[in-house]
Symmetry: C2
Subunit: 488 residues, 2 copies
Amino acid sequence: MTPQHDVTPVPAAAIGAWDQEADVVIAGYGVAGAAAAVEAARAGADVLVLERTGAWGGAAAMAGGFIYLGGGTALQKACGFDDSVDNMAAFLNAAMGPGADENRIADYCAGSVEHFEWLSGCDVPFKAEFFGEPGWEPMGDQGLMYSGGENSYPFNTIATPAPRGHVPQMSNKKQGEASAGYMLMKPLVETATAAGARALYDVRVQRLIVESDGRVAGIQARRYGTDINIRARRGVVLATGSFAYNDAMVAQYAPRIAGRPAASIEQHDGQAIRMAQALGADLAHMDATEVAIFVDPQQLVRGILVNGLGQRFVAEDTYPGRIGQLTLYHQDNTAYLIIDGDSQEEAMAAPSPQLMMRPPTWVCDSVADLEQEMGLAPGCLQATVAAYNEAAGRGEDPLLHKKRQWLKPVGSPVGAIDLRESTGGFTLGGLQTTLDGEVLHVSGQPIPGLYAAGRSTAGLAAWGYASGVSLGDGSFYGRRAGGRAAKG
Amino acid sequence: MTPQHDVTPVPAAAIGAWDQEADVVIAGYGVAGAAAAVEAARAGADVLVLERTGAWGGAAAMAGGFIYLGGGTALQKACGFDDSVDNMAAFLNAAMGPGADENRIADYCAGSVEHFEWLSGCDVPFKAEFFGEPGWEPMGDQGLMYSGGENSYPFNTIATPAPRGHVPQMSNKKQGEASAGYMLMKPLVETATAAGARALYDVRVQRLIVESDGRVAGIQARRYGTDINIRARRGVVLATGSFAYNDAMVAQYAPRIAGRPAASIEQHDGQAIRMAQALGADLAHMDATEVAIFVDPQQLVRGILVNGLGQRFVAEDTYPGRIGQLTLYHQDNTAYLIIDGDSQEEAMAAPSPQLMMRPPTWVCDSVADLEQEMGLAPGCLQATVAAYNEAAGRGEDPLLHKKRQWLKPVGSPVGAIDLRESTGGFTLGGLQTTLDGEVLHVSGQPIPGLYAAGRSTAGLAAWGYASGVSLGDGSFYGRRAGGRAAKG
């Protein structure tokens, strides 16, 4: 268990002298903190960003860079895709639940086109090119991709498919090199700096400083072994990320993801959540997680995925993060990808970064032998493959509606990729906030002077996920929080 | 959404005069409150119990009355069953997870035999007779029953099966009449009263009263339209139950159970949780829920249960609450019970309260027709029934290991009972406490003067469940909280 540090609020009356002050003090210089800094500074506030590490970036700078946007952005249009606010909301309401907040989704969708313009206005570059292959990320510097299963069953029956994964353009993307998330963060931080936002690095926020009437007045932090007190004249914005790396919190709130944090950074220790909880802040959707499954989507679409009972359970051509969630939560983290020799070869030759390409764990001449070698119940996999093959031969998948282009009867030799315990991810739950980024007390009222955004808050996703939702709601509500805090 | 009342703590300095005082003040007179009252009073404390309704009882008095106990209780022995502390812990660690707290389970199991003696010493009556039929509760006044799938797959491969559902004896049980839970509560309250505990009814607790150093000093409550202040000289014990009836909290923390509270009472509005959260109390397992599926287990064991893809997913003869959880969470709340005419007749004639006996929604001559009528994907149910029948004919169930006694090929006519949206339940998450019932602050330290037990706390169950776990950990840790609070 992670030791919990003392997050008990400090009375403002106990502060002798302030070491730093600003109108708006932001904890964390990831995407939410940067967006908050831009908006607060542009609104005329004196802004100070406190960052725990030696540099800006946060998890965002390490991320694939997807920003989930739609409703008819300039990039969607330039790539030839139609979308509408209602259509985007219909998808998100279905894909981010159960438990997704319809009001927040409506708000986010309504502002999505403007938010794309705002990012472009901050010089975040996007190349008007669509990447249509199955994959976790574009292979090159393409700017748009399906990133949530919008064009797959069941979502393609709920809303008109439109790709909404907007990816900043790498000027010189090479495999394994810096990520597109860097190309989001660099211009945002430059914009914030140009607008006058200051930053202090190597500062670890510890406790909130509170007036006797409950108003948040600043932050106590640790820097080079010394406690420092930073006064926030108008407001504090918490943006220190998720709790994926706080073992105790994960055990309490999201035990399924315990021991398998991924696509996150060690600084995501839930500190902002705990600091606000100590003031009576409310939480939401703390069990929600993003889940990746460690296999290449080029393989997934060409195989059939079965659980420990040899049964299919999801269309293999949907968003791989959805496959990860269903595997971890609904299938006891047990899945096997059945793929024949030809399909495996085809996958290996397909456009893909190859990093997650997996060799088969078992290969046999027949499904009967494979089933036995895998230790599955006799007959279960044979029945599944027989039913799949019979329908695939007709170009149909009546059970799960995988798209016709990926339907082909499973032949021989046939392999199985062992995907047990092959998932990882990060937490999505956090502080309950208003659409203006005000942190809500359990009594239902905003805590005066306290704002939050990013993955320390409960955002768009309550249970499902789409790549780009975290950078999306982090930047979108980071702006809101910064703008609101600047008003004091 | 439920409007959230103001739960902001009241400074003790602001209290002019106390309307009531006691050494130990307990909020809620259900099972946890009653057990706390007994132990605090026996420890010499002056005890005052505040109850929102006009009478003691809480959800416990309405419940089936199961108390989950084992490790070799006198009742288990009298009924001829062997059990051990380790065996009980092995079962609970498997069945209450993922995320179950091994330390708490070890503690509970180690104290289980003594806790049975304590309940008996409070004159809670148990009849030394085992009820062995499938069912939610015993048909008569039998005192012991399997209540968590201990004798079913997979738990029967993890720990030696032993029944642990201990049921207080109704003196004159008739179908539909008062529940066994009443026979638990009546003697506990009488014992508390005899030990000197006082009670005040029609008191709705509102806010905690707190000293400037953070120590809880009392409770502010509402009685007949007036605020009253109750001083707790040694400690406050929160025992007001779950948040199953707080729509806003359910949406934030356990959205899957939204709109379907069951086996709970309207007073379970999460008030204790919110009052403690306002002081910075930590939470755990807020998404965990007990889930009932509304069908008679005598039908379940005789049929085969399939999901929306026509696939089996759980041994039909396990704990029906487990079937409910898997249906709601893993199968999108979609299940159908396939049962032939003979089996349905047999179920109807079996010992059962019949309350949850369901007629088939569809009946056909063949599985092919049934599948079509149900609107399932062509062939999926036929394949499932064919595989089941083939193995059942040999007395085997290689896929899910239903016990041999219930295996019989599905014949004609064949029906299906529509079990979509046929679940309901209550929430299991709540305040994070020590094994002594101290409420933990998010900093990891106990909040001075504040204790809690029962379903306002995170107890034994993190995700799974067994009937009797709530009355079990509520009474067990209610005692701890009361005893600890009495020490001040």
